[in-house]
Amino acid sequence: MWDYSEKVLDHFHHPRNVGTIENPDGVGQVGALACGDALKLAFKLDEKKERIADVKFQTFGCASAIASSSALTEMIKGMTLDEASKVTNADIAKYLDGLPEQKMHCSVMGMEALEAAIANYRTGDTTVRELKDDPLVCTCFNVHESEIVEAVRINHLTTVEQVTNYTKAGGACGKCKGAIQAILDRELGNRAENGAARNAAAAPAAPVPFAELSPAKKVMAVEKVLEAEVRPSLRLDGGDIELVDVQGARIQVRFLGHCAGCMAANLTKNGLVEKKLREALGDDALEVEAI
């Protein structure tokens, strides 16, 4: 059982500012059903377009996600956008008299929704973070490098476990833990050594022709392409893909999440999965079969 503060429980039981706003000035949404939590935040400015006159939220998530969202709305009501844009997840957690370490990602979700809503007002953009120039680190929870860097800087994080608690990155399959450590090392000043490691990790997949690889190497090569080129875009839609088997040039996969049973899965298979694998592995004979 989580050890929640009185304030967290109060905001969970009596959430403030729940709902939507008609004709809002800014709307931001982060998270997804697949990830287990999501927050949609909308605000309306006063007539002079200076201060936040009204703010509402809708949250799908656990007690601390609901409490963090509610707290955030109370905090930013009446603020100018400049003031609001300086609110961090640490401020949200402090307002709630603290959150359990493993639940800090709930406060980060609040901060990110607010950033998204402000960006939406200022630029009309509906996505906060541009995918290009901001590598996707955790494909399970769709966490980008800039989000990790921000959490590390604001909260003075030093370990991968902390990064997971604050951003969820690394909290599922764990494959990105090395990349998170690399970000941490860089942020903590150990730039030189792990720069090399990161470059090595990003090296192209298969110098030996695919058909000549051993079965194990084939699996690794395919998995690498799926991870780097396929999963990120599937996950944007709440889907995923699992490598089932590789027999010669025949690659068996299974669609998961939203992709499983999706009407468009066949298009995805041919248009995305097969195409990416053929390109990256340099073998046009490759065939992908979804089972």
Binding site: W2, L9, F12, H13, P15, V18, Q29, A32, L33, A34, G36, D37, A38, L39, K40, Q58, T59, F60, G61, C62, A63, A65, I66, K103, H105, C140, F141, T164, K168, G171, A172, D237, G238, G239, L256, G257, H258, A260, C262, M263, A264
Partner: protein
């Protein structure tokens, strides 16, 4: 007086120790505290009490010989003993066959063996949680020594695996067969070592109204399995450690009660309560039952309420004195939802909104009423808060695609 009455519906997590069990144990703390392995009568008497308890456990399991029952500290120890002990006996070429939905006490030893270089096959399940028998048969065709370890009943969904058939297939393929029956013992009449050819069976006392800290491993005579805990001749050198006599006596009593329960209609009453709970909850819009409804324990109900999250529901239930569990990420101690529901390919609108209610002989109509009175309001409150489930879902690809 603010504290609401307790409605305990989490019996797959642990059960209330039966008063009869506690009573049976008490003398072994105060008077009969001798060492069961000692040579004098003060210990010898205790030894006979322990053997009487062993006979009761053996009777519940249908074991021909009580010495086939080894007392352990818990179900997890029994599982570890069976898996590591057998693989050690069968050698480094051993293939391990298990399922994707096992309890972590089986999954993690299997993963550890995989890391040590063993071939481990994790057989999948169908969408209703039943075992993929074709995949299982395929795995059994792998040559060489094999250990199969499959759960009799799933702790999260209550779904039963056809253990008789699985064990028969395993024996025909020359494999050693272990079943984790922690959730099934006392709830499944078919558990009978004289009729079902399992070689080993694990279970735990605290799921059948004995206290925590006692379990057992049934080991059929002749099964190749090495001891797991070394350091003494207790349990015929199969499990070192001074015998935990008070708890062993408690387990014996609990098994005696469970055996009676299998005959006296208690389980039918529990199933009827569970079914009433199920029907009542299905009246809440979009509720889905996770797992096959026929091949299922009589006491377990796993339901999902799409678009809302499990921990939030548990907190609200807790306010009403109701104890249940969830497979949501926030309650699993990790960031991922239940591995069981994921293996079942549960629609992921439902993945984070699952609740498990598990009943026992002590569950009352009032307990079920309390849930049925509380749950609709909780779901409504949380759905009003949720950005999903409004039919629009601009940012939720689930509905549109």
């Amino acid at each position: 007086m603010d504290e609401p009455a307790l409605h305990y519906l989490d019996n797959n997590a642990t059960t209330m120790p039966a008063p009869e069990v506690v009573e049976a144990m008490m003398p072994f703390f105060t008077e009969r505290w001798g060492n069961a392995s000692s040579m004098y009568e003060f210990g010898g008497r205790v030894h006979r009490d322990m053997e009487a308890a062993r006979a009761k456990v053996a009777a519940l399991l249908g074991a021909g010989d009580p010495s086939e029952v080894v007392f352990t500290s818990c179900g997890s120890e029994s599982d570890n003993h069976a898996i590591f002990g057998t693989v050690q006996a069968l050698g480094p070429e051993t293939t391990v066959i298990t399922s994707k939905v096992e309890h972590p006490a089986v999954l993690q030893p299997c993963r550890a063996l995989e890391e040590r270089g063993h071939r481990v096959v994790f057989v999948g399940v169908h969408r209703d949680g039943t075992l993929d028998m074709d995949a299982y048969r395929g795995a059994l065709s792998i040559p060489g020594p094999k250990l199969v370890t499959l759960m009799w009943a799933n702790n999260e969904t209550g779904v039963l695996f056809p253990i008789r058939e699985c064990a028969e297939l395993a024996k025909a393929a020359g494999a050693v067969f272990h079943t984790d029956a922690t959730q099934a013992v006392g709830k499944v009449a078919e558990i009978d070592a004289s009729a079902v050819p399992f070689d080993m069976l694990s279970f735990s006392g605290h799921k059948i109204h004995a206290p925590k800290g006692i379990g057992a491993l049934y080991i059929r005579r002749g099964t190749p399995v090495r001891p797991f805990l070394l350091g003494g001749h207790q349990e015929k050198s199969r499990r070192a450690g001074t015998e935990n006599v008070p708890y062993i006596v408690g387990l014996g009593k609990a098994c005696e009660l469970a055996a009676a329960e299998l005959r006296d209609g208690t389980l039918g009453r529990v199933a009827a309560l569970r079914d009433r709970l199920q029907e009542g909850l299905l009246a809440i819009p979009e509720t889905v039952v996770n797992g096959n409804r026929e091949m299922r324990l009589p006491n377990t109900l796993n339901v999902s309420f799409p678009y809302i999250e499990g921990e939030a529901m548990l907190f609200h239930l807790g306010d009403a004195g109701i104890c249940a569990s969830s497979g949501s990420a926030c309650t699993s101690g990790s960031l991922e939802p239940s591995h069981v529901l994921r293996a079942m390919d549960a629609p992921f609108t439902a993945l984070h909104g699952s609740l498990r209610f598990s009943l026992s002989r002590y569950t009352t109509d009032e307990d079920v009423d309390a849930v049925l009175e509380t749950m609709p309001g909780i779901v409504r409150t949380l759905r009003e808060l949720s950005p999903f489930g409004r039919g629009e879902e601009p940012d939720d690809p689930g509905a549109a695609r």
